[in-house]
């Protein structure tokens, strides 16, 4: 199949975005799992068990990861400049949110020695930033693509 260099770039970026999305979803559960004390639950003063913040972060990242995967797939099949640029911006936003969820939007445990603070949080922030970098590359390289 004859493929232009430019559309090859879009496909490569799409594959990378899919991989990033999968990693974002998987990291807080399997690679650097969030706090497992009492199965991600914390006991309140009243004696009931509620999920810790890192639990909610891990759940949110699964959703974000899935959307990044879908964006990557769309990037893979897109040909035109407008579509690719739009997808690039969406990817960038998703990456930013993926980094903000464990830091400001939801956060993780307050204890600086918990695994969610020393491993999960920095991993997700890094992954989010890498996703944003890929998004910038996707936007920059979309310029050579044909118009609709």
């Amino acid at each position: 199949m004859i493929m232009s260099k430019n559309s090859m770039t879009s496909r490569v970026l799409g594959v990378f975005a899919v991989a990033l999305g999968l990693i974002v979803a998987v990291v807080p559960h399997y690679v650097f799992p969030v706090c497992q004390y009492s199965g991600m639950l914390v006991q309140t003063m009243a004696g009931t068990y509620i999920p810790m913040r890192c639990y909610w972060t891990a759940t949110a990242e699964v959703g974000l990861g899935a959307v990044i995967v879908v964006t990557g797939l769309l990037l893979f099949v897109s040909r035109h400049i407008e579509t690719r640029m739009a997808l690039g911006f969406v990817l960038g936003a998703l990456g930013a949110v993926a980094a903000l969820v464990p830091t400001y939007l939801i956060g993780v445990c307050a204890n600086p020695m918990h695994p969610c603070r020393i491993a999960t949080q920095p991993a997700l922030v890094l992954l989010g930033m890498v996703t944003v970098i890929f998004a910038i590359i996707a936007i920059a390289t979309a310029r050579g693509a044909p118009r609709e």
Partner: protein
């Protein structure tokens, strides 16, 4: 006036051969990143020890016989521990030749998962009159003595200033937080020794498990040696004159960390050295192959007036630019990973860690970048010489 510069020419060549550029840059970036990360680890451990030992203020730590390991672990990683000896030890140490000052401390581990304790921490009780660990900080930061129910916490304790902590049923207020050292002291809580004895006495009623400490018991004696004597000499004098104690010098503390790390660091540097050699060969091979492919181009350049020297400089500049990009990627990537995961790495390696100073990091960046660029220059030297000596017609013909 001149036409295209060497840098411009090289940049264009790299841009148009993007796959090759990315492949070589990634390879070199990986090696540079690993090298940079290793130096960050080594420097970070050093810095942590320097800052931590300076915070401790002592040249020698005297503990009950056989308790060196738990103390070292507590100081380095913050793993809580408790041990006691009679206070008379301090009086014996004070008269040893070369000892300038002494101060006793109590090491108490709080209870794990007990309602009477806020968490599992190392409590260090100090003597306000003789102390030289916390007192300097109190003088410059709090600017007043610590109240009887007040504590100073290390940087890793997440209770804020003004917050409350509970130990053995006794309530404390956090009066201040120390700057990080990267050592176990960051997870310690410093309380006045008299309050510790009171807490112990009250624990029979207030705590889930009582804290059995008598008012004549201490855990450790911190010793400051006079400037005219070496700490090792005073340490051996203490060992000879005082019974049932173990002596830890700050030098030995540093050495033990060094020994623990050295095996790992040596293997890492060996691995990196091998990787670097392989990368240099790879870059050299790629450059040779590329120059072979570009024979006609080189012949053409010579035909339109390029000197052999220009060709040599062009190849070298391209290599330097390529490896500069790779080095930059490595430094940024390695730095980002180290910065994000320094606590995790420190915990996994069981070593103290404090991020190096700006000057130290800049030096390491400069060295890593220099190694990356030198790799490019070395690898491209032979191809550059060959290219510069090619007869123009031969180059043009063999490229057809």
């Amino acid at each position: 006036m001149k036409g295209l510069g060497l840098l411009q020419l090289s940049r264009q060549n790299l841009r148009r051969r993007l796959f090759r550029t990315l492949a070589v840059a990634t390879c070199l970036g990986l090696v540079t990143g690993i090298l940079f990360s290793e130096s960050l680890i080594a420097e970070g451990v050093q810095r942590s020890l320097q800052v931590g030992i300076a915070r401790l203020g002592a040249d020698i730590l005297v503990v009950p016989y056989g308790q060196e390991m738990p103390v070292q672990t507590s100081l380095l990683t913050g793993e809580p521990t408790s041990f006691y000896m009679n206070r008379s030890v301090e009086r014996q140490i004070a008269v040893v030749l070369g000892v300038e000052r002494t101060s006793s401390q109590l090491f108490i581990a709080s209870l794990q998962r007990a309602s009477c304790c806020s968490g599992f921490f190392q409590l260090i009780a100090f003597e306000p009159q003789s102390d030289f660990t916390i007192t300097p900080w109190l003088k410059s930061n709090l600017k007043r003595p610590l109240g009887s129910d007040e504590v100073i916490v290390g940087s890793k304790i997440f209770t804020p200033e003004g917050g409350e902590l509970l130990f053995y049923g006794h309530r404390f207020t956090v009066a201040g937080k120390l700057e990080p050292t990267g050592m176990g002291l960051d997870a310690a809580v410093f309380i006045p020794i008299q309050t510790a004895y009171l807490m112990a006495a009250e624990s029979i009623v207030k705590a889930e498990r009582p804290l059995a400490i008598k008012p004549d018991q201490i855990s450790a004696v911190l010793v400051k040696v006079d400037s005219a004597t070496l700490p090792d000499i005073v340490a051996s004098r203490i060992t000879r004159n005082v019974e049932h104690v173990s002596v830890i010098t700050s030098v030995r503390l540093v050495k033990s960390v060094g020994e623990h790390l050295s095996g790992l660091i040596q293997s890492l540097f060996l691995l990196t050295g091998t990787l670097w050699a392989v990368s240099t060969l790879l870059v050299g091979t790629i450059f040779s192959m590329t120059m072979n492919e570009r024979r006609r181009e080189i012949g053409l350049l010579r035909a339109i007036g390029a000197t052999g020297r220009f060709i040599f400089k062009m190849v070298i500049t391209e290599a330097a630019l390529l490896t500069f990009i790779g080095g930059l990627l490595g430094v940024v990537g390695g730095g980002a990973i180290m910065f994000s995961f320094s606590l995790l790495i420190s915990k996994s390696l069981e070593v103290p860690y404090l991020w190096p100073t700006f000057v130290q990091v800049s030096e390491m960046i400069a060295i890593s970048m220099a190694i990356a660029i030198l790799t490019g220059l070395l690898a491209s030297l032979y191809p550059a010489v060959v290219a510069s000596r090619m007869e123009p017609l031969y180059a043009i013909r063999s490229g057809e």
